[in-house]
């Protein structure tokens, strides 16, 4: 009887795990293993092909899609419970109609072996287009698997790079560095909307960049923030709030709260605080910390990525601390990636020739960097409406 119960419980656990999975644990991932950049076709530089005029970014590729065979496209990510991934999958699904492809989404739920094994599996089932939602550890291996399977693929959010950081395959990612700068620029332009002081000259300004250095995609935002801040606020003090110091529990609002609390209280000489949270969750923690320290009149918090911001808005947050977020459009991502796959499957373009203006210097593969837009309490509704309008 004991054994039966134990087996039942184990089965329940397995089902639960599969049903919900987990966010990718932000374990420190090493840079992709050094291998020579495998450029099919080797030495000579291929002639430049369709630019973004030919295969557009941000709007659907035109052409007679209904007149050809129906393609099959799959989105492989780690978990569909994550809002961003779910949004991409959702949009990719909707695009299947105008672009004439069959779509399916698949989540690994931390089983990286299954991820790699499923690439040839899907290929065997006739899937020709792969959107790879990967992290640094999977990058190389999944690229090799796709090349072997002979399918068309594009990396989502994380670029596949060689050891020197050169992009060795097409990818669509957030403009990490640029978005960091955009956030700081926005703060520079709009702080006066919230603070009644006419000028910041002569005041000690500090900026906390809430980071998690172990994840490269997030860490890339730091230089954008740091440099912009040094440029616009030359006398300001930059604080690198690295949540990796708190261990894996740092990757949360609570972590952001703890670290912000410490930095606020350990530097009472700072008169005005800016906080840029590289992940939106942490902005909530920093906001609460400011409230608890009673410095709401001199703290402004913005985040890169806007999901948490939108949640606060729908919750009628009326404070003036968490005021803006750099929203990156998952819709735009999806459109770009769907275009890429359709173009490369149909032969209109090849990975080496498409979007050459987006190649890394000296590289042959485009690294699309999607810029974000700053949205505030006043503008977010318009933004959401615009997003919806991008879909046909």
């Amino acid at each position: 009887m004991k054994k039966v119960l134990a087996i039942l419980l184990a089965a329940c656990m397995v089902v639960a795990l599969f049903a919900c999975g987990g966010k990718t644990d932000p374990t420190p991932s090493a840079d992709p293993t050094p291998t020579a950049a495998t450029t099919p076709g080797g030495e000579e530089k291929p002639t430049p092909g369709p630019t973004t005029d030919g295969v557009p970014l941000g709007k659907i590729l035109e052409g007679d899609h209904a007149g050809r065979e129906k393609y099959k496209i799959v989105y492989m990510c780690n978990t569909l419970a994550w809002a961003w991934n779910a949004a991409i999958a959702d949009t990719l699904g909707k695009l299947g109609e105008p672009l004439n492809y069959e779509f399916t989404a698949w989540a690994a739920n931390n089983d990286f072996d299954a991820y790699l094994n499923n690439i040839p599996a899907f290929a065997n089932q006739g899937y020709q287009g792969f959107v790879l939602g990967i992290d640094d550890t999977l990058a190389q291996a999944s690229m090799e698997a796709c090349l072997e399977a002979g399918v068309s693929f594009v990396a989502e959010s994380t670029t596949i790079m060689d050891k020197d950081g050169l992009c060795i395959w097409s990818s669509v990612q957030q403009a990490q560095v640029k978005n960091g700068g955009i956030a700081v620029q926005w703060l520079y332009d709009h702080w006066k909307d919230y603070w009644t002081d006419a000028t910041l000259d002569g005041q000690k300004v500090g900026l906390i960049g809430l980071n998690y250095s172990a994840v490269s995609g997030i860490n890339e935002r730091k230089p954008g923030v740091e440099q912009k801040f040094a440029e616009l606020f030359p006398d300001g003090k930059f604080f690198d709030g690295d949540l990796a110091a708190l261990g894996t529990t740092g990757f949360s609002a609570e972590g952001g709260n703890q670290l912000s609390t410490q930095i606020y209280s350990q530097n009472p000489d700072i008169e005005k605080w800016f906080v840029v949270a590289y992940v939106d969750d942490w902005a909530i923690g920093a906001t609460r910390a400011a409230e608890q320290q009673n410095i709401t009149d001199k703290t402004l918090v913005v985040s890169i990525q806007a999901d948490a911001f939108l949640a606060e808005m729908s919750n009628n947050y009326t404070g003036n601390v968490y005021v803006a977020a750099c929203a990156v459009s998952s819709t735009e991502f999806a459109i770009d990636m769907a275009n890429y796959l359709v173009a490369t499957i149909s032969g209109v373009a090849t990975p080496e020739t498409i979007w050459p203006e987006w190649n890394d210097a000296g590289g042959s593969y485009p690294r699309i960097q999607v810029e974000g837009t700053m949205i505030t309490r006043d503008t977010y509704k318009d933004y959401l409406a615009k997003q919806a309008a991008m879909l046909p």
Partner: protein, 331 residues
């Protein structure tokens, strides 16, 4: 006799830890004078409360020779739970009580796994930890659950103003629970029976202690306190995140073990556990104060643990030789 007692104290583990803490505080203050500022201390108190609350239930379990490795995820689940039910508009004290009961239920389930199905506490709660982690993501859809009930917020965020210094409520909860449970462990029969079970299960059984009953109570207790911890943290954030607090139970355990609670069970107490936890947390706080680069922080954290263990080792040796001397005298 008092001379003996004093010298005994100086050789005790607690003293060694307190000495390290004092040295550490001085060192960090020299690095950044704001380390001991009112603001930082206040923030520190809030931060230590999360691990501290979890530690109360955890230490009781540890002394009995068991453990609840899912405590952090239980707190996280409770946080999401309270955020969700507050959405229905019920008064927050009611929501809080229901949440604590929810935590007790999670604890009861752990007790079921351990006492009825016979799993080891270690294994059973590691498993439940994964389950709750996943459930948290399912229920919250991966994003934070916000709270609109404004009355709930002060539960976790309010501080009592004492001049320049703000004493946070969560810290008060922590201290109060530590004191209450400390008294229970030391002065009640139930408390002593926990030591019996941890020290020698067989002897406990022969002494008439109902091991299953005590174990069940301790698991329920741990779950309930974890739920309270989750609720307080959620109140403080005004939202519940699906990744909050999970993993913090390791800090609680590390602090407890450092403070003398043996993983084998049967020894240690809440006082020592508090000191151990204090050391670890104050140290982490100090590293931020002096802006030590992140990866060095991890090295430093390992280092302080090592120092504490080494100091304890030498303290143990001198304790043992002192006892040998006493025994030789008495013989």
């Amino acid at each position: 006799m008092t001379a003996q007692k004093t010298s005994k104290f100086f050789r005790s583990k607690s003293f060694a830890l307190i000495a390290i803490i004092i040295v550490m505080i001085i060192a960090f203050t020299l690095g950044n004078k704001n380390y001991i500022s009112a603001g930082n201390i206040s923030g520190f108190m809030t931060n230590i409360s999360t691990a501290g609350l979890l530690a109360v239930g955890m230490v009781c379990l540890l002394i009995s020779g068991n453990v609840d490795l899912a405590a952090g995820t239980e707190a996280c689940m409770a946080g999401i739970f309270v955020a969700t039910i507050l959405g229905s508009g019920m008064p927050w004290p009611v929501a809080l009580i229901i949440t604590i009961l929810f935590g007790a239920a999670m604890g009861l389930f752990n007790a079921f796994l351990v006492n009825v199905l016979g799993f080891m506490g270690f294994i059973a709660t590691i498993g439940m930890s994964s389950v709750y982690k996943g459930l948290a993501l399912v229920v919250s859809n991966g994003i934070n659950v916000s709270i609109s009930n404004q009355g709930f917020y002060p539960l976790g965020a309010y501080s009592i103003q004492m001049g320049k210094f703000a004493l946070p409520l969560p810290f008060i909860y922590t201290v109060v629970l530590f004191v209450i449970y400390g008294l229970i462990l030391k002065y009640t029969k139930f408390g002593r029976s926990i030591y019996l079970i941890g020290g020698n299960r067989n002897a406990a059984r022969l002494a008439g202690v109902s091991i299953k009953k005590v174990s069940t109570i301790l698991y329920i207790n741990c779950g309930a306190i974890a739920a309270f911890c989750g609720a307080v943290s959620t109140a403080k954030m005004n939202s519940a995140g699906p990744q909050a607090i999970s993993g913090t139970e390791m800090d609680s355990i590390a602090g407890a073990v450092l403070g003398g609670v043996s993983f084998m069970g049967g020894s240690g107490g809440l006082g020592g556990a508090f000191i151990g936890l204090f050391l670890i947390s104050a140290f982490k706080n100090g590293l931020t104060a002096i802006s030590l680069p992140t990866y060095w922080q991890t090295v430093a954290q390992g280092g302080i643990l090592l120092i504490a263990l080494v100091v304890d080792y030498f303290g143990e040796r001198s304790r043992v030789s002192a006892l040998k001397a006493e025994a030789a005298q008495a013989a």
